[in-house]
């Protein structure tokens, strides 16, 4: 009955009725800097302030990536050669897409341990259909339908029976690794020796084909222009409606960063990586595939009701339920999308290997994918993360594997180094977050 002891509040503690300096500062730090800053200088200052207070965003992983790249370049001058960088893109692609698959469920605070074998089983379906002379797109659609449906079944079991996703997908992991052997066996002559070859030029070209250099430039320029236009239109609409919008200079800066990244990627892709006699140039198709998926999924998570509800459930499932969100349906759809994206991964993997075999390491692949998402900044506890995290984290995992291979180190060293980087990434994340809560 007596008035309760006031508990310490989050972030800042104030004693008077007016918002104090520290409270105001907390608000400044929590809001996106582009909505407060009036100029580039102010933007940079606010941004640095946020980084210092623990809201570092993608900075640690980008800095980490640069450091790792520099180390490898010092050890081997081949590392930053165009040929190796294109290799890196093709090697990292399936880790990145599998990481994106995991982001859907990680945001809910769940996990899908089966995704690596979902990918492999999906690839078997696609390659079997291709071998049976079905058109490539029928094979791809069948693969995505099957893997998406499998994901939905997992989601259904997890939500309806209220079982932990860890256990359900662990069972899926075991079951699908068995199913993989069964499926390859069942294909008979097609899968002789436990290997199904990929005999389709279009699907093979995802990883081994490339746009011609001119097309690479055109695609890059179109993408940058479209991205720039969308950013400008969005800011203009905010300004017209009387809302705070980032200054034009900052929007221009963002577009410049996108453009520079695009130019670098195309320059790397267009450099001759063959020999003087037999030139190989152009951006691998898989880069466009990965970028396309990244854009679609980023829009899905950031600009649709479905995406908003995923974050809401990951943040506070009870609040989402009380707000009228059908949390079970959103969860099932997220698992279905995770499965379907694993299916895409399976096709990319098969395209990279030129075949799919019973020896696919679906367990290690899925753990690498989860590591990629977490290194990129996605939380294992739900509510925090982006599709971009899987790209950045997947690049880190890919760079380590590629660089150590280049140095002639075997799988043992690769795995142990990846482990160290994962622990380092999670430590950095946890330390900065501790800094945030105590500042």
């Amino acid at each position: 009955m007596a008035s309760r002891n006031p508990e310490p509040e989050r972030g800042t503690v104030t004693t008077d009725g007016m918002p104090s300096d520290s409270q105001e500062e907390a608000a400044v730090l929590a809001a996106p800097p582009e909505l407060i800053a009036g100029s580039i200088g102010q933007y940079v200052r606010l941004w640095l302030k946020r980084v210092r207070s623990g809201e570092s965003g993608a900075l640690p992983v980008i800095v980490g990536l640069i450091v790792i790249v520099l180390i490898f370049q010092l050890k081997s001058s081949l590392f930053l050669s165009a040929g190796n960088l294109v290799n890196l893109m093709t090697q990292a692609a399936f880790i990145i897409t599998l990481g994106m698959a995991e982001v859907f469920v990680l945001l809910l605070g769940e996990i899908d341990l089966a995704a690596g074998f979902t990918a492999a089983c999906g690839a078997v379906i696609a390659l079997y259909l291709v071998a049976k002379n079905y058109p490539w797109w029928v094979a791809v659609l069948a693969c995505l339908a099957a893997t998406g449906a499998y994901g939905a079944v997992q989601g259904f079991v997890i939500t309806r029976l209220r079982l932990p996703s860890f256990v359900v997908t662990l069972a899926g992991f075991l079951g699908l690794s068995g199913l993989l052997l069964f499926l390859i066996d069942a294909t008979g002559k097609i899968g002789v020796g436990g290997v199904i070859r990929l005999n389709n030029d279009i699907l093979n070209d995802i990883e081994s084909g490339a746009l011609n250099p001119t097309a690479s430039w055109i695609v890059m320029i179109v993408l940058v222009v479209v991205a720039g236009l969308l950013l400008f239109l969005r800011d203009r609409r905010r300004r017209i409606s009387g809302l705070v919008a980032p200054p034009v200079s900052i929007t221009l800066l963002k577009i410049a960063v996108i453009a520079v990244a695009g130019v670098i990627v195309v320059l790397v892709g267009n450099t001759n990586r063959g020999t003087a006699l037999f030139a190989v140039r152009g951006l691998p198709w898989v880069v466009l595939v990965v970028l396309g998926i990244l854009v679609i999924y980023t829009v899905l998570l950031g600009r649709t009701r479905f995406g908003r509800y995923i974050y809401a459930i990951g943040g506070n499932a009870e609040a989402a339920r009380r707000a009228g969100v059908n949390t079970n349906r959103i969860r099932v759809v997220a698992f279905a999308l995770c499965g379907m994206t694993a299916g895409i991964t399976g096709i990319i993997l098969a395209s990279y290997l030129g075949s799919i075999s019973s020896g696919v390491n679906g367990g290690q692949n899925v753990l690498n994918a989860v590591a990629a998402a977490v290194i990129g900044g996605t939380s294992l506890f739900g509510g925090r993360g982006k599709m971009m995290d899987a790209l950045l984290g997947g690049l880190v995992v890919g760079v380590i594997a590629n660089g150590l291979q280049l140095l002639g180190l075997a799988a043992d060293a690769q795995l142990m180094w990846t482990a160290l980087v994962l622990v380092a990434a999670v430590t950095v994340d946890s330390l900065t977050r501790r800094g945030r809560s105590s500042s």
Partner: protein, 263 residues
Amino acid sequence: MDGSLLSLHDIGKNFGPVQALSGVNLDIPAGQVTALVGDNGAGKSTLIKTISGIWEPSEGQLIWQGKRVHFRSPRDATDAGIATVYQDLALCDNLDIVENMLLGHEVRRHLLLDEVSMEQTAKQTLSDLRVTTVRNIRQPVGSLSGGQRQAVAVAKAVMLDARLVIMDEPTAALGVSQTALVLDLIGRLAKRGIGVLVVSHNLTDVFQVADRLAVLYLGRLVSAGPAADYDTASAVDLMTTGATQRNRGADRAARTPDSGPEG
């Protein structure tokens, strides 16, 4: 009964052999703050859960704006205009203020979320309620103070055209300035013609903001009336024993007439 927003008629609720509520009759008027007080286990939570559709009453009737209603889910109650604000259950820390306020009622434009119009709506509601301590409505709710979180949750209810706002222990775990902010907001809700039902342990806060008082004791409503008819001592008597020996009229005379906010 005249013009009551919500009337409870002989509401009873039992869980098997346990009678949590029995024979509760209560009128909750619009434009006033009704405080529901009682000791632990008196049935306060059960009563608000019955009103907000989480549990259906075992007996009795709910009359909402003159019509008998059955709420089978919290959604039914929300749709009818009864919003319940729970301190910790209402908001997603990882979403910003606009996202939280519009959660479940997003505005779309060409299939994508219309952030501009949602931000305008949220901004308008907050300024109508004069919630001015929030600096930037694009900051995550996790970075807000307890009082600000409460304000966002209330603003969300108001934005959804709630006619009755139920608040469960709105000032528990809040500091002095934050409590003042929330009590101020409660008073402003009532001025807008919204009915407010506040469940609280804190009698200081209750007397500061309530127009009417309802006391539960062991699942029964033992007393209800204008807050001016009670003082802390008589309210404590009623909450702990179900009755008071004190002379209400004397109490009323003893109180300064302007001690409670009268809307």
